[in-house]
Symmetry: C2
Subunit: 541 residues, 2 copies
Amino acid sequence: MADIKGQAEANLYSLQRIFTIPESSGATLAQIDAEISTNLDGFLSERIVASEKDLTEIESAFSSPHIPDQPFYVSGYTDFILNHLVAQSVHTAAPGFIGHMTSALPYFMLPLSKIVTALNQNLVKVETSKAFTPLERQVLGMLHGLIYNADDVFYEQWMHNSNHALGAFCSGGTVANITALWAARNHLLGEQAVARQGLYGAMAEKGIKGMAILVSKRGHYSLAKAADLLGIGRDNLIAIDTDDNYRVKVDEMRIKAEELQQQGIAILGIVGLGGATETGSVDDLQALSALSKDIGCHFHVDAAWGGATLFSNKHRNRLKGIELADSVTIDAHKQFYVPMGAGMVLFKDPEQLSSIEHHAEYIIREGSKDLGSHTLEGSRPGMALLVHAGLNIIGRKGYELLIDQGMDKIHYFAGMIKWHKDFELVVEPELNILGYRYAPEWVQAGLAQASAEVAEKVNVCLDRMTQLIQKTQRSDGKTFVSRTRVDAPNYYHQVITVFRVVLANPLTSQKVLGSVLDEQQELAKHKDIQDILAEIKQHLG
Amino acid sequence: MADIKGQAEANLYSLQRIFTIPESSGATLAQIDAEISTNLDGFLSERIVASEKDLTEIESAFSSPHIPDQPFYVSGYTDFILNHLVAQSVHTAAPGFIGHMTSALPYFMLPLSKIVTALNQNLVKVETSKAFTPLERQVLGMLHGLIYNADDVFYEQWMHNSNHALGAFCSGGTVANITALWAARNHLLGEQAVARQGLYGAMAEKGIKGMAILVSKRGHYSLAKAADLLGIGRDNLIAIDTDDNYRVKVDEMRIKAEELQQQGIAILGIVGLGGATETGSVDDLQALSALSKDIGCHFHVDAAWGGATLFSNKHRNRLKGIELADSVTIDAHKQFYVPMGAGMVLFKDPEQLSSIEHHAEYIIREGSKDLGSHTLEGSRPGMALLVHAGLNIIGRKGYELLIDQGMDKIHYFAGMIKWHKDFELVVEPELNILGYRYAPEWVQAGLAQASAEVAEKVNVCLDRMTQLIQKTQRSDGKTFVSRTRVDAPNYYHQVITVFRVVLANPLTSQKVLGSVLDEQQELAKHKDIQDILAEIKQHLG
């Protein structure tokens, strides 16, 4: 095999060979390559060990800060990686891994990813991406169409327009949200004023003493990051209370906005959630749009998770009003079933991104079609191909089926939890996300009658229990749910810890869902849990 | 083959199959997959057509804004992609593609990328990345060591420390530079003051009327983007003149800084270039460090390109002083020979990133080892594996050879240009980048004697000529150089257009370099060029 140990010591000529000669087919890495191509599922199930090692133990394989001096065998390195990295990775595609927003991938994403890597295009400029630039512009156009459904004349005018972009393709929803609020901030302060003079100067000039962004308290943490980064300040990302369904209280947002405006605070924008990350709840986007019009501010919708619901004729009405948003974030590495690293932000008005436009001498020159003049990132890989592939191969109908099955499944699971006497459904599913906890029937009965004081004591115990079960279940490695903290309307709005479940993996069967609950019930028999239950009994008297 | 056309129409069960069943080995996509594995070079050379189609023609294949309704054959889609995307992509790995910062990739990067895609980890949190988190922390430690060379006790304390990070892995140098200046801004205004209150409030509280960042006028465009994004304003990114070697004039920077401080402007930071993107020039980092100490500001070094020069015992002294920087940007997708999408920023002091720290309820909780609490991005793929692979398989010695060969080659090419009577070397190489133009001997002789007025007329003609040759050479597709505009010290500091060459691809031979010049000389015979030369003759009298 074309190994390089010793070769670099010998001469440059040998080192050059690793840039041309592929491994012979017998070598470990080539075997893995073939294994992934022919049996991805098998590769993941067999190479990832079920039971979790302690993190400290895993770290011991990655503890040296020293870059090795000499070259090393590719085969030896591959063995190391298989044993210490792959084996200890998380099986994010497993049908029982229902705690985060990852899923199994359609098989064709793998070879197509390889084409992206092999071509190694850089989407910042046409000179290093050529055909990928029109492809990415088309993907942005298609997504724009999915949300805004403008007419053909519109797309003919804007999609490949060298002075504009319908949105920005980026590494993920965080950068997408930042980009949206960046454009909104610059727009508010007058085109390029803030871009050029800075926030302080631009605000002073306009006599603005402060700025605020309003969002549900269930807003994604990337919004706080954006507020920090953009100089708005996290304290000025105003978190508005939610109703019993975890939807933002639009009336409260209106009152707050008016209050702020009276104080001379400019409202930069309001953000609606098209699927809150932790609860899946969707804000009333129509009402938020109306509010944004009254305020005269930017209306952004974070539909990183829920955007794909637009594919479903049955469920797209859950997002109604999204077409009224000035900008929308959608992640392709979520419900478009694309591998990690593909987010997008779309703008209703193609002129909006002009407020963050920038150019350079050697690339992204004015009037070029280079996508880099309208993105936060610089050099970027051709991930857009994978979105293009999904849209073309799976199609609207295929995505619709995927969305619909996730919805059917979440309702089935919610029913199962409700029916089960020892579990409590806390967050009813609106999209394919729900929250629940383990709480034996007598605990639920006791809690229903408890005073606020007693309820709090019991809930603190239940929180510890939920956390313990979640951690043990994770480290056992059979099934996985995540956990988060939510407001519990029926318990004096106390904030409690719940298991969080996301159902997007088409391979997650009803049987798998049953086994998740079975495993949790089994874990509840452990002494630690029983001790907590005994404590709860005391609190409930 | 496991195609899905019609299946989605039929039922969900069939659609699920694309998440498990790989293509049979006879199908097109499987063939491509094998082709890339066994003969990457062949795949690129044969599948990419040499001659460039017009961009409008390429766009016609990507012109529909409509997402197809029905699923489509994987094989049919693959054919489409091969004909319309792959064929019209840029052969960034070609030995004659010496105009941008891409290169051929070591063969092992391909199967390892596939492992990254197959595992589909999300590095934002341990729960979706487990072993990848320690691996990425180790990569950051190794890079920190390459720059700062702290002792083992330091890395033992900080590398896997759950409350800190030695840096941030990100999609590229732009995000790295933004992250560095973000941390510097927040640090300047007092830990979390700006993060919480926003820029206006924090500045008002401190009585700061403005902020500035100082950098060479050859600074990368991402710095202007950072200044905009962070609310500093592009006008407050102060571009300082360079000397005849394109290195920033430190004395001028000092004078400017003092001037600004007297006006009550706070200096947020100064940025040194560890390889300017367009000229490869390296600023006097020691002097800049001393200046930053006198000012009392953050010192960032943008070594996105040049950082890898630290591997070379022979050439690392070009970057001396880099170890004095508070933060350093290095791109792995440049001279670490990793595919697109891998940048890093390292911080000398592990406490520095605390100023941009953030947490959430469901992940990146306080005290967790989740890398997401110190990154601008949220969800991120496991690209760190590819950097880890390069460091381990190629090793310091291997990278040293790669760096040294690039340097040897650039000096050879510079000599060739100087020797050649019809070419003019404008930017002498300092790292492996240079700038030159086509200018027949008599033009150079005339220019040497010309007045500023005449020189300007001639240079404008030469600019048109350089641009024309560059564009034609690109569309002919045999070899490729980029172009940029630089200050010409010997022509009254007029700004002129030059061919820009970057030599990092180990497959670029002396013969290829010769053919680049031959091709340009051949293109100069075209009538359009001859017309420009006739015009120059008139100007020179």
